[in-house]
Point group: none
Chain length 205, copies 4
DNA sequence: TATGAATGAGGATTCATTCAT
DNA sequence: GATGAATGAATCCTCATTCAT
């Protein structure tokens, strides 16, 4: 009991630290995330951060996990009221666009996936990612049953295709927004909508 | 008399340094690229590097430019013998796959696009990037004239869609190769082929 | 629990670092003052220095401020027991001579006045300097009231004249002491006394 | 004969290099004087500079010597048409003011006097300095003979007093020009004129 | 648990000087 | 004589991590 309570308190602190780290990244980018800056924002001492996280990498890993969990929730929220599977796909892609706008730093955490994380962390990150692709794969399976999505599509594979391409497009928008809107003579949301249509079209008969 | 190294010789040295920097990135990633490591690999003193490049950023910019130039050449080589536009699209996507295998670090240079580079370098990088998208856009225009690619497609926009999604897919393969092949129960080339088909399908009638 | 070093303790550390920096300058001159040398003399790590000072310039600024504060104290101490204004002028000039012997590096900090210091420091340095000239100007004003100093003298201006010439003479003594004593066939204190007489004479009726 | 010609040519080169070094200092200050910058301005290779000067310090020493020689010439030019000794003193102090305006970097070379120069250079620098003080001392001696300057003044000593105070005042003006004019509510030339009057007064009966 | 002072390796960049040609 | 490429020590500064309290 006592222990459980401690665990809870500990988790609260951990998520507080993570929230602060998130803010730092939002404000100054991943490469400017320093333990000192997190400690300052969290009103904690540097050493205290290390009571909750073994190292900086671990914080980033937790952030990556957390962001995937949040994203999953937004996927669910954005599809719960929809029937049509293609509309659900559109829903999660729009949710992802919103997510990227809100967490502009997110794309920086994607490439962090590989780093030498502790096994435990790595597993959790894996789980969170798998849930995301599983969620997508499930929509596709439903669509195939509904008859709105082509039967020959491999659900899991397409889920990864969707994940990979969406991240790529978001990154492109993030990294060269002005070039993009200048070249295409339309705003970047429109560009993203075109991407959604590309995906929808490739799913449809 | 130690004559002024003619431009050719100087360029050779520069290329040598760039090649070494490339190797470092391949081995240890962009964030572990240090001037000292480049110097060591190039068998040069630290100061010598600065004889050829004003700063580290400039080296990265040159690498980004170089990679785009090489990529353009490979795009050209992979399409020169083809007639059908859709086949040409397949050609460049396959060329990009080969390119990514050869330059596994490449995706790290993509996000470097924006950084505060010197104007000249920045311009050159922009040019190199534009040539890549222009090359793709041109194939699509041809395809529309040939009647093999849907007329309602915006060439330039699709070129960016292709670029963004291809980078995303390559990154996904690079960052979690084992997860991917385990989950999909096939090798990652097959996954990439599915991506190509997705693109081809979305271009076709 | 390692409590927050209270301000006093922190100030003690800062003073210690400053004292070490002073010694370095004494021994090797301002242009040979390096953070590494300070750290070594202070038995601290390089990074520790940066815990107390944001950068090297700030250390120099503090030294400049400190030296002016010390000088002001010595001005006060050397005049507190005197009545006659001209004697007070003689007093501060003698105090300055002692000061220069003790802090032989001082003249190097004079020309540092202008550098791009942080606003706060710069302001404090300005204040410290102004207090010095104000102190001198005040003595002159008193002397004019007493009738010992010529009424047509502009107090502030003369304070600056005194400051400028005293620094110049001290510098001359510092930079070519042997030449000076050899040429003049007397020791450099006598030379300085002549300087004092020059000033006194120009103040008197 | 051949040798003499070579010597002449060599001297020409040397003074060309010195002139370029002077310009660099004028433009960017003594601490930004680099051999590379001198070489560039002189249209010479770095190594060539070292054919004429054993090291950077030597260049600076030559500059110090040269500036004193130029100053001596200007002292002579500014007094040649004058009879009265006090006017001559005023003349050389005005000449010094002009000199400082023209060679704004000059004060930086003063404190370089002491550095570990080669004996030969050091001796030449000494000679040049001595000529300056001798010139001043001579004027004072004349004045004493004329009856315009107080007989009890030690000529040589006063020459050094003049040199030391003039440098100090010039330095003060150079280092905090805005502070000075703001505090005194007059321009810095006026401040310098007050300095001249101080000197004249202390020389007169 | 919590603190935050201390560490010190590591990174980018500069520049006087040398030396092979 | 002349060149200029090459050197590498030196400098400032950062920051993840540790540890005594």
């Amino acid at each position: 009991m006592q222990r459980a309570l401690n665990e809870k308190a500990k988790d609260k602190r951990k998520s507080h630290v993570l929230k602060c780290a998130e803010q730092i990244i939002q404000e100054k980018g991943l490469e400017n995330l320093s333990i000192a800056s997190v400690a300052k924002k969290a009103n904690l001492a540097v050493g205290t951060i290390y009571l909750y996280f073994p190292n900086k990498e671990d914080i980033i890993a937790h952030l990556a996990i957390k962001s995937r969990k949040v994203l999953l929730q937004e996927f669910q929220a954005s599809t719960v009221h929809l029937e049509d599977s293609l509309e659900k796909i559109r829903g999660i892609l729009l949710a992802y666009l919103d997510f990227c706008k809100k967490y502009t730093f997110y794309y920086e955490l994607v490439s962090f996936y590989e780093s030498g994380l502790g096994l435990e962390e790595s597993k959790e990150l894996l789980e969170a990612s798998k849930k995301l692709t599983a969620f997508t794969a499930n929509i596709i399976r439903e669509g195939k049953e509904q008859g709105t999505i082509r039967r020959e599509i491999n659900e899991k594979e397409f889920a990864f295709l969707l994940w990979g391409t969406a991240v790529g497009i978001a990154q492109l928008i993030h990294v060269k927004p002005t070039l993009l809107s200048a070249e295409l003579e339309k705003d970047n949301d429109h560009f993203y909508f075109s991407y959604i249509n590309l995906i929808i079209k490739s799913l449809s008969y």
